[in-house]
């Protein structure tokens, strides 16, 4: 690989949107939501199809941060919200909306 080609490849990778590197929404949902809201959880059972698309949009816009600001991830033992990048948060939201109860493919997170 010539120096020029290598340089262009690195430049391209650096300029790619961050969301392309984020884990997929389903994995993020499973690893960050289901850990506390899985089957039988006393925190409430939530899957993407628990809400409509509008309800999920509202939840991410107005309710997620206030209701989870002191939530600790049970596996990493770190603050849940601080452990998620903006790109990962966006991927989570997209997954929840795309598989909401009134979407074309309602789903649990597997």
């Amino acid at each position: 690989m010539t120096f020029r080609l290598r340089f262009l490849t690195i430049l391209l990778l650096l300029t790619l949107p961050a969301f392309l590197f984020a884990a997929d929404g389903q994995t993020l949902f499973r690893e960050n939501c289901k850990v506390c809201h899985g089957k039988g959880s006393k925190n409430g059972v939530y899957t993407p199809m628990s809400f409509t698309q509008d309800q999920w949009r509202r939840f991410f816009a107005t309710k997620l941060v206030p209701s989870h600001k002191s939530a600790i991830h049970p596996v990493t033992h770190k603050n849940l919200l601080e452990g998620l990048t903006p790109a990962e948060m966006k991927a989570l939201q997209n997954f929840a909306v795309d598989h909401a109860a009134d979407s074309e493919q309602p789903a649990t997170c597997g």
């Binding site: 199809m49 509008d54 309800q55 109860a101 009134d102 074309e104 309602p106």
Partner: protein, 467 residues
């Protein structure tokens, strides 16, 4: 100026109409509490729907030559896909992983779990699931009620705000709402019909001139329009007709729609679908052979099924059809065809029948059990079989359920079903040409159609003077 004002007034007059078409029910009720909420204003519509084919799964079978006056439909006939819904109605069958492998045939019945009854009762009317067809964002699942009975409920049943939001988005059925059932019958996407693919929900004119967004952009109900919740259009392999009127191309397309007189001449004996649907199952493979005598285990889905042969881009077969069909019915002797197979659905008509035309069909072959002593075709209790793979047990239980026969002695019969192909209509650029049917390598089996030989063996268009 006057013209502009008139134009504005004309456009303004359409605004309330456009709003009404959206049919949002936001102003009509506060909370959705099941079908009784709909019945508050739509009791008469529910009563009409109760008598329809979509609810009863039975109807007048005036085009089935051996119906002998019986009402026929899914509920009292056998097909060579999942056989019969009666003993496979509702439930929740899971594999070892806990994944749901079937919820029963009622997944596609517009009811909440009760089987349709002949008598119209309030309980039956409240069993109608209006949202299934009229609320595009509505989804449901099976749950057990307090009495241990299975029933369909909205998946948002514990989220009243969400449920209210979905239940207020009422409209006429869209392509998507129809295709959710009609494109997924028979066990998988496009397994049964072949020409009804989910791809039609968002497609182009090249794929289907009627439903393509850059074509006519029709919804299903543009052609399958009806009245009082009864829908027009009966495929050649359907038992009942919901309405007397059928759907014909000629309602919109004049009798001589081609510029070429030779093509117009063909129309007296050839249905439009023959040339304009050269292949089907273009996206999702369709089930062409289903052998129930050979159980197959799907390790990925942890589920048993029949051995199914799937194909894509299938060329139709061609047969004469005069609008009538012979069906293999319960408690009737096996209708053996010349090749020894049992004719499940056989289009009627011949070259000598002036009412018949050549139509395009999917030819589905299968192997089904039959009672040796009585010579009756047998269904299979497939829901149980999917989980356990115990075929013999599933046949025995179905024999008792269908005929009251406790210790059936059964054999296996090859079966043949002709299924009408009507969707995926291509534009003229992609339609068949002379040599697709005539000449060496043509797709028609002329002898089977009653011709001594290819009537145009060169495949050359007729000379202009003959046209």
């Amino acid at each position: 100026m006057r013209r502009a004002i008139l134009m504005l007034l004309f456009l303004a007059s359409w605004v309330p109409w456009a709003t009404a078409q959206k049919s949002s029910h936001a102003d009509y009720f506060e909370h959705y509490e099941g079908t009784k909420t709909c019945l508050t204003c739509h009791q008469s519509e529910a009563e009409s729907f109760f008598h329809s084919q979509h609810y009863q799964w039975l109807g007048t079978a005036s085009h089935i030559v051996n119906a002998q006056g019986q009402a026929l439909g899914k509920m009292n006939t056998i097909n060579d896909f999942c056989t019969n819904p009666s003993s496979n109605w509702i439930g929740r069958v899971e594999n070892k992983k806990g994944d749901v492998i079937t919820r029963g045939c009622s997944a596609c019945h517009a009811g909440l779990g009760l089987k349709p009854s002949p008598e119209m009762t309030q309980a039956q009317l409240e069993n109608i699931d209006c949202l299934q067809c009229h609320a595009s964002g509505y989804r449901r699942d099976v749950y057990q009620n307090g009495k241990g009975q299975w029933e369909w409920r909205p998946i948002l049943w514990e989220n009243q705000e969400g449920l209210d939001s979905v239940a207020k988005r009422i409209g006429m059925p869209t392509r998507v709402t129809c295709l959710r059932c009609h494109a997924n019958s028979g066990g998988g996407a496009n397994f049964k019909r072949g020409d009804l693919e989910y791809a039609l929900s968002n497609t182009t004119r090249d794929y289907d001139v009627h439903m393509g967004k850059d074509g006519a952009n029709f919804d299903c109900i543009n052609c399958h329009k009806g009245s009082d919740h009864h829908v027009r259009g009966r495929g050649a392999d359907l038992s009942a007709n919901d309405m007397k009127e059928t759907v014909r191309c000629s309602e919109c397309h004049k009798t001589a729609p081609h510029k070429d007189a030779d093509l117009n001449r063909h129309m007296s004996r050839i249905d439009c679908t023959v040339c304009h649907i050269p292949t089907f199952a273009r996206t999702d493979a369709t089930d062409m052979v289903r052998d129930w005598s050979k159980p197959a285990y799907n390790a990925e889905k942890e589920k048993y099924a029949a051995t199914i042969t799937l194909e894509t881009n299938v060329k139709p077969v061609y047969a004469w059809y005069n609008g009538n069909t012979q069906e293999q019915l319960l408690r009737q002797p096996l209708n053996r065809l010349a090749d020894g197979s049992v004719g499940m659905m056989i289009p009627q008509g011949s070259r000598n029948d002036p009412k018949a035309k050549i139509f395009a069909f999917k030819l589905h072959r299968a192997k089904l059990p039959y009672l040796k002593e009585q010579g009756w075709i047998l269904p299979i209790q497939v829901e149980e079989f999917f989980q356990t793979g115990e075929l013999d047990k599933s046949i025995r239980e179905a024999a008792e359920h269908a005929y009251g026969v406790k210790n059936p002695v059964y054999g296996w019969a090859d079966t043949t079903r002709y299924m009408g192909i009507y969707h995926g209509v291509r534009p003229h650029e992609q339609a068949l040409h002379c040599k697709d049917c005539h000449g060496a390598g043509g797709r028609m089996d002329w002898k089977a159609l009653g011709y001594p030989a290819d009537p145009n063996p060169t495949g050359a268009p007729a000379p202009k003077e003959e046209q």
